[in-house]
């Protein structure tokens, strides 16, 4: 079989790495591809959402509160008479924004820590990893509560809190990959021609970690959206009046027995978004991480 592997490797080698192959492989994975399309739709909604909403998501109409699903209001109206669908669409930007920005921040910090920790090893590694251990030992949500409590509520702080607890997982993962890449021959080759540490870390090791970072990033965005929703659930979200899905869900949960649609749709929006992100991540991992590639 080792030979069949080399055969196919050579054949793929002639094309692998190019965007078109990636695209082709990607389209083969139907679940991931559909998820991707859904995600693209979400991004489009996040950009143009506020301009295409059928009703103003913020304007209350106290005469039409808590209406069920109807021709006029597809997803019903909430306790202030605002159109739920419009709020969901308008909220895409906020929910996705929280998820993406917090994970990007976390990934950035985590990646740097992971690279440094993995490359230098020894006490640097030990120190960074022990700190990560301690952070790991804290329940995420608790850490977030603490951070929000210290910094006060607000969108920025929620993003920061969620970013904060994604740092150790990125750090660990990037560290693992760094340890692996560090031992690779081309890094040794680079050292042997006299490359400086910075150059090795950021020009040679870092690019190797990008695929797993992308995969993990995709999945973490989902986790971050969920975490932000949990914070909203505990009343520590960005702002109860913004049409962020977590806040909508949290605000409407008292109506679960009377107006199920109020709870159901934001929950569904979160679920589908996170599901698609996770599936997308799974698919990307299959393609980008050659260990699992067939």
């Amino acid at each position: 079989m080792s030979e069949t592997m080399t055969v196919s490797k050579q054949q793929i080698a002639s094309k692998r790495g190019t965007l078109s192959t990636f695209w082709h492989d990607f389209r083969q994975r139907k679940v991931a591809f559909i998820s991707f399309l859904f995600f693209v739709l979400l991004v489009i909604l996040a950009v143009i959402g506020p301009y295409i909403v059928p009703f103003n998501p913020q304007t209350p109409d106290y005469n039409h509160v808590l209406q069920g699903m109807s021709q006029k209001h597809w997803a019903g109206t909430d306790e202030y008479g605002r159109d739920v669908l419009s709020r969901l669409i308008a909220g895409t930007r906020i929910s996705l924004g929280i998820g993406i920005s917090s994970v990007l921040i976390g990934a950035m910090a985590g990646t740097i820590l992971g690279l440094v920790s993995g490359y230098f090893g020894k006490w640097v590694d030990k120190t960074i990893m022990r700190i990560c251990d301690v952070l790991f030992a804290f329940p995420d949500i608790l850490l977030a509560i603490g951070i929000v409590a210290i910094l006060g509520p607000g969108l920025k702080n929620v993003i920061f809190a969620v970013a904060f607890f994604s740092v150790p997982s990125f750090a660990r993962m990037v560290r693992g990959k760094t340890l692996e890449v560090k031992e690779m021959l081309f890094i040794e080759a680079e050292k042997s021609i006299g490359a400086k540490t910075n150059r090795i870390i950021f020009r040679h090791i870092f690019p190797e970690t990008i695929p797993i970072i992308i995969v993990y990033l995709t999945m973490q965005v989902g986790t971050a959206i969920l975490a932000a929703a949990s914070l909203s659930f505990l009343g520590l979200g960005a702002s109860p009046s913004s049409p962020d899905w977590g806040a909508m869900l949290s605000m409407s949960r008292d109506y679960i027995g009377t107006a199920f649609n109020l709870v159901f749709f934001p929950g569904l929006a979160i679920f589908l978004t996170v599901l698609s992100l996770n599936n997308l991540g799974d698919g990307l991992r299959d393609i980008l991480d050659p260990k699992i590639k067939d």
């Binding site: 081309f186 680079e190 042997s192 021609i193 490359a195 690019p207």
Partner: protein, 324 residues
């Protein structure tokens, strides 16, 4: 003679601590143990031995990729063993490495022209873009790769072409010494021949000095001027090529030579098949490390470590009690 010496290694030692799982202990693998030799300018010295004998470690020690525990590495008259990182960096220009796995040793996310220009960027940052490209172009042609392909990535090349790229990278800084660590063992025979021919041609054209690390005696015979045979961290025999292949002295050298399968069914010879396996490097036998497998072992062999001695008239040095 001494002027002609490009590299001299004396009493070089590298012990790796063994970490068995969780706690590092006081045990060591003596990967390189008291190794001495010298290489003359324009010559090829081959280090040959089986896996775990320390030949690759030796190569990496000389290139400064790992630090030696003791001993001298004198390169162009300067002792590098204790040198600072900055000093090392300046010596990495005249001393380059070629690696076994041409695929793994090339950064997979760089175009080959970037890979080859990398040493220039590090050591000659003042060069203009055009000058750099010109150099890359000429070196690629020397190594037999069309410049037309220089925008491709390593994975788009075959094994032999990749090794040519690796050689081009090593050559671009016009080095004096090239440490080649098993440069052809991952290649098919027909490609192997191409690369060996290229290496020989380059040596002739540019007065290169090679430290050639290999486990394959037939390749070694083809390329070397001198050969050093290693066993468990020690050099057991070092001699000019003809001496090693025509008149090997050390029983291990003899066994090694006779183990090499010869692609000629008519040449049925009495081969010496060694008993047992290479002992664990962490716990090598006392005395002569080879005595456990040696067909000619004597009682002294298990007690005393043999020292290097010149034997015969061909500057052949052997560490074996048979010749003491």
């Amino acid at each position: 003679m001494v002027d002609n010496e490009l590299l001299k290694v004396k009493g070089l030692k590298k012990y790796f601590p063994i970490s068995n799982g969780w706690f590092s202990s006081k045990e060591y693998v003596k990967a390189v143990d008291e190794v001495s030799f010298s290489v003359k300018k324009g010559e090829t010295l081959s280090l040959v031995g089986e896996s775990g004998c320390g030949k690759s470690t030796l190569g990496r020690l000389i290139n400064g990729l790992i630090k030696a525990d003791a001993g001298d590495i004198v390169f162009k008259g300067d002792n590098l063993a204790e040198a600072s990182e900055t000093k090392w960096r300046s010596y990495r220009k005249p001393m380059q490495m070629i690696f076994q796995d041409p695929y793994a040793s090339l950064s997979p996310r760089m175009k080959i022209k970037e890979i080859i220009a990398e040493p220039l960027k590090i050591h000659d940052p003042s060069l203009s873009r055009e000058e750099r490209e010109a150099k890359v172009k000429s070196i690629l042609e020397i190594c037999g790769i069309d410049y037309y392909h220089s925008d491709k990535y390593p994975h788009e090349f075959s094994g032999g072409q990749r090794q040519r790229i690796g050689i081009a990278r090593a050559l671009i800084l016009q080095p004096e010494l090239i440490i080649a660590d098993e440069p052809v063992s991952a290649l098919d025979v027909s490609i192997q021949a191409q690369i060996l021919n290229l290496l020989k041609k380059l040596q002739k054209d540019y007065q290169l000095t090679y430290l050639f690390i290999s486990h394959d005696l037939s390749v070694v015979e083809h390329i070397s001027d001198h050969v050093a045979v290693m066993y468990l961290g020690n050099i057991v025999e070092i001699a000019p090529r003809e001496a090693i292949f025509e008149d090997p002295k050390h029983p291990y050298t003899k066994a090694l030579l006779s183990s090499v399968p010869i692609p000629d069914p008519k040449l049925k010879r009495e081969s010496i098949i060694l008993k047992g396996e290479i002992p664990n490097a962490a716990n090598p036998p006392k005395g002569c490390k080879f005595h456990t497998r040696c067909p000619l072992a004597m009682s002294i062999c298990s007690k005393e470590i043999p020292i290097m001695k010149t034997v015969g008239d061909k500057q052949q040095m052997v560490a074996c009690h048979l010749y003491q």
